[in-house]
């Protein structure tokens, strides 16, 4: 019985010690994160690039349709030309959300450079003539709206080795808003984010 008590106490003590040693996991305040910068791209960089792009777009008047109507925007190719495995939607989604909030732009999910983002718009039309579905509820031909504008761009990375052994990494967020009717770029924006740190840091 004494042995059992000893073992139990030792186990409890060890567990207590180990939990004390482990670093606590904390949830980040995404609106006020003063955590150390990293050489790679993190959400703060995407926030900054997206905010600058949207502010510039709204100020330029490129998305102001006469009579207060909304433009239909298609997402074209946004190339990740960095050494990191990033999903360019981290940038594009923020821009889309903010443009939708502006009330000046609505994004089509039926067409994009990579095919339909939401294939259901087309799939649901394949129900035409299917007796199992009330045909009055199936979408009619000619109801989808084609895009007026297209958003394209790339995220570029340049690594520079400095004389003192440090490393400088430059990230370029380049975006273009093209009017599909004419093929003319109505708006272009670039945000550059530079980071300098240890040459041993890995930025991919």
């Amino acid at each position: 019985m004494k042995n059992l008590t000893k073992i139990t106490l030792s186990a409890l003590l060890a567990a207590g010690l180990m939990s004390g040693c482990a670093d606590k996991t904390e949830r980040i305040d995404m609106h006020n994160d003063k955590g150390d910068q990293v050489m790679g791209l993190d959400y703060r960089d995407f926030n900054q690039a997206a905010a600058e792009a949207v502010q510039s777009m709204l100020m330029s008047g490129a998305v102001d349709k006469k009579n207060g109507d909304r433009y239909v925007l298609a997402i074209s190719r946004i190339t990740n030309d960095t050494m990191q495995h990033i999903d360019t939607d981290q940038l594009v989604k923020k821009i889309r959300v903010e443009l939708l909030r502006s009330g000046k732009v609505v994004v089509t999910t039926a067409v994009s450079a990579n095919g339909a983002e939401d294939e259901m718009s087309i799939k649901a039309r394949e129900l035409r003539g299917n007796d199992e579905f009330n045909q009055a509820t199936v979408q009619k031909k000619g109801t989808m709206i084609a895009p007026d504008l297209s958003l394209s761009g790339k995220i570029l990375q340049r690594n520079i080795r400095m004389d003192d052994g440090k490393q400088q990494v430059e990230y370029y967020f380049m975006l273009t808003l093209t009017e599909i009717k004419t093929g003319l770029a109505w708006w272009e924006g670039e945000t550059v984010i530079g980071k300098r740190g240890s040459g041993k840091s890995v930025s991919w």
Partner: protein, 119 residues
């Protein structure tokens, strides 16, 4: 009588400020003496219908600073209008130099704002 007129005038002035509800605030005490807000220009862009805001200030210290700002927007009823501007945005402030912050409202509903400047 004169005193009454003064009190009435002051009451009107203060109620005007409260109704407007917009302000710019330097939130960090350590930079309050160095960062001076000199001018705030507001306008509604006639093409977009969006409110634009330009804050001009000066860094009176001898140090370069990397500051941050965020803007919270509200509609005419005082309800917050969500926007990406709520996130802190970095901006450089050079020693003994002016700085400018230029922001646009996220949509036409956003009419009042609170802009915070922090370290």
């Amino acid at each position: 009588m004169k005193r009454l007129i003064w009190i009435a005038a002051l009451a009107v002035m203060f109620s005007g400020c409260a109704d407007k509800g917009s302000y710019v605030k330097v939130v960090d005490d350590s930079i309050k003496d160095d960062i001076k807000i000199e001018n705030i220009i507001e306008r509604v862009n006639s093409d977009s219908g969006l409110k634009e805001l330009q804050i001009m200030g000066e860094n009176e210290s001898r140090d370069y600073m990397k500051l941050r700002y965020r803007v919270v927007w509200f509609d005419k009823d005082g309800i917050e209008v969500k926007s990406i501007s709520e996130n802190w945005q970095e901006f450089p402030v050079y020693k003994n130099a002016d700085f400018t912050i230029h922001v646009v409202a996220p949509n036409e509903k956003a009419v009042t704002y609170r802009l915070f400047i922090n370290k």
